[in-house]
């Protein structure tokens, strides 16, 4: 029998995670500083490239700069590994107590991640301020902006589930640091965070656009700069939702198997 579900404990978990992240003040400043450096770097890189060559794939310099800066601002949220708690608690064994509590462990990790994300989301405004000192960013039409935020939200959940699956690997291997970074670097390249996927040559472009990584950065960004037109919105969002469902199902399967494994280990 399922006990009555109450949301309050999870809101508390999220608040606690928010407060915990806020204590690492140095890390917070560092992430903004590092972002500002990277915006400067990418600005100089694209200026140098556009100065001597014609705009490729019909992407003008101002669109490219907008794409890069918005991608970097998105990364403030998307690079938060919301479920890294699973890995930490597995290592020190405290995961056992999470399973004894009258709350759902999976939802506990999700609300913890949401709290962390909320703190990092607050960094977007100061970062945007610094960015605007260096770069001009295009403002999309209200419709494009609305669809961008919807698409970004779906991409966020896809990314969340991808991280969740990766962290659950720790139930089997304990150590996931190297594997996670490998997946992160591949995903940075294949999701369109560093360069638009439209730049990939020929058949590779078709392949990377069809991979789940594209749902994280590429789709919202192409909506933002207007490369995905209003007529294509439905299709783009639908494919994102498709990946969301795939990863949600995969996450559930892995989580079930992980729970069983924890019981077998006697944890």
């Amino acid at each position: 029998m399922r006990r009555g579900f109450r949301i309050e404990p999870y809101l508390e978990f999220a608040k606690k995670a928010f407060a915990r992240e806020a204590t690492y003040r140095m890390e917070v400043f560092t992430s903004v500083g590092s972002l500002v450096l990277r915006i400067y770097l990418m600005r100089m890189v694209w200026l140098a490239l556009y100065a001597q060559n014609v705009a490729p794939q019909g992407i003008a310099l101002h669109q490219m700069l907008t794409y890069t800066v918005v991608a970097l601002l998105m990364s403030l949220i998307l690079e938060v590994d919301g479920t890294r708690l699973i890995r930490d608690r597995l290592r020190d064994g405290s995961i056992a107590t999470d399973f004894m509590k009258p709350t759902s462990p999976a939802l506990f990790y999700f609300s913890d991640g949401a709290g962390q994300t909320a703190l990092h989301a607050m960094l977007i405004l100061p970062s945007l301020g610094f960015a605007l000192l260096m770069v001009h960013i295009d403002v999309p039409s209200p419709l494009a902006a609305a669809v961008f935020f919807l698409s970004f939200a779906i991409g966020y959940v896809v990314n969340f589930f991808l991280n969740f699956c990766m962290n659950c690997v720790a139930f089997w291997t304990m150590e996931t640091f190297a594997i996670q970074l490998i997946v992160r670097w591949c995903s940075d390249l294949l999701s369109g965070q560093i360069i638009p996927l439209l730049f990939f040559p020929g058949i590779l472009e078709r392949i990377v656009l069809a991979l789940p990584f594209a749902a994280i950065y590429s789709t919202p960004l192409l909506i933002y700069i207007g490369r995905i037109t209003p007529a294509e919105y439905a299709g783009a969002l639908l494919s994102q939702v498709g990946w969301l469902v795939v990863f949600a199902v995969l996450g559930t399967i892995i989580w079930r198997a992980a729970q069983r494994r924890l019981v077998i280990q006697g944890g």
Binding site: M26, E27, F29, T30, G33, S34, L37, R38, Y40, L41, M44, V45, L47, A48, L49, Y50, A51, Q52, N53, P56, Q57, E175, A178, I179, L181, I182, W185, C186, D188, L189, I194, I195, F199, F200, P201
Partner: protein
């Protein structure tokens, strides 16, 4: 036994332990190898894809940029292979482990550099392979100067990288947390060296040349060997050959600062 013989013996033992550990944890070693490979492969892939669409960047083609990258990677990998453990100093200061090096009769920095770990020169091997490929693509002038200077430039570059890491690590004797500082240096070293520094604004070029001279790891030597006109600070191309000297000078400054840090740490009676 003379001091030098002791050092040589300790160093030999240190590498023996490293190799034995790598052999013992083979699966772990393979994962870290994949880690190193993917890091550099994705960086180069991004460069390649962009430079397919835009054939030149400030006069540099993809093959020349690959050569630029490979020079940085050689120096960086050599530093990672020989001097990686200086990065652990702030942690050792925080948890008090550092006190161990004071009670042993051996140079403290040498002890830090020979702390057993799981180090294997895999990144260096990859760097050499990439350097050979990039040299074939970019076709620098290969003469007697190239053969004599290239190893010196790489050693100089590794010393620059090491010296800056040592400077930052030494700050830990005064400030508990140096992560922010380290992160900025890390980003300048890893990401800003990927492109010819002539694309940056004047201030950044000056910083990368004089303050944190990462440009001597790859930009200046690559400019000389690829016979390009130097247009970052309009210096004579031959400055590229100064990398070994810059490396030694950086190391001397960093080592002097390290001694000051050690004295300060002992002086306040920790």
């Amino acid at each position: 036994m003379s001091t030098l013989a002791v050092w040589a013996d300790v160093y030999k033992q240190y590498w023996r332990i490293n190799f034995l550990t790598a052999l013992e944890y083979r699966a772990n070693f393979l994962v870290w190898f994949a880690f190193t490979f993917i890091y550099h492969a994705t960086a180069l892939a991004a460069l390649y894809i962009v430079l397919r669409e835009f054939p030149v960047m400030n006069g540099w083609s993809f093959s020349e940029m690959a050569f630029l990258y490979s020079l940085w990677m050689l120096a960086h990998a050599l530093n990672n292979t020989l001097f990686l453990t200086v990065g652990d100093v702030p942690e050792h200061v925080r948890d008090g482990e550092i006190d161990r090096v004071f009670v042993r009769p051996l140079n403290p920095l040498f002890q830090i550099l020979t702390t057993p770990q799981q180090i294997f020169p895999d990144e260096l091997i990859l760097a050499i392979l990439l350097f050979i490929l990039a040299t074939i693509w970019a076709k620098p002038i290969i003469d007697v100067w190239f053969v004599i200077f290239m190893p010196l430039v790489v050693i100089g570059g590794a010393l620059i990288d090491f010296a800056i890491n040592l400077l930052i690590a030494t700050c830990a004797f005064w400030f508990v947390k140096v992560d922010g500082l380290r992160w900025v240096a890390f980003q300048l070293e890893q990401e800003f060296t990927r492109y010819p520094i002539s694309i940056y604004t004047k201030g950044v070029r000056l910083v990368l040349t004089f303050l944190l001279p990462y440009a001597f790891m790859n930009y200046y030597p690559a400019t000389f060997f690829l016979d390009k006109t130097e247009n970052a600070l309009h210096l004579a191309p031959q400055v590229g050959l100064l990398s070994p000297l810059v490396g030694v000078a950086c190391f001397c400054v960093a080592y002097a600062f390290w001694r000051v840090g050690l004295n300060h740490y002992e002086g306040v009676g920790h």
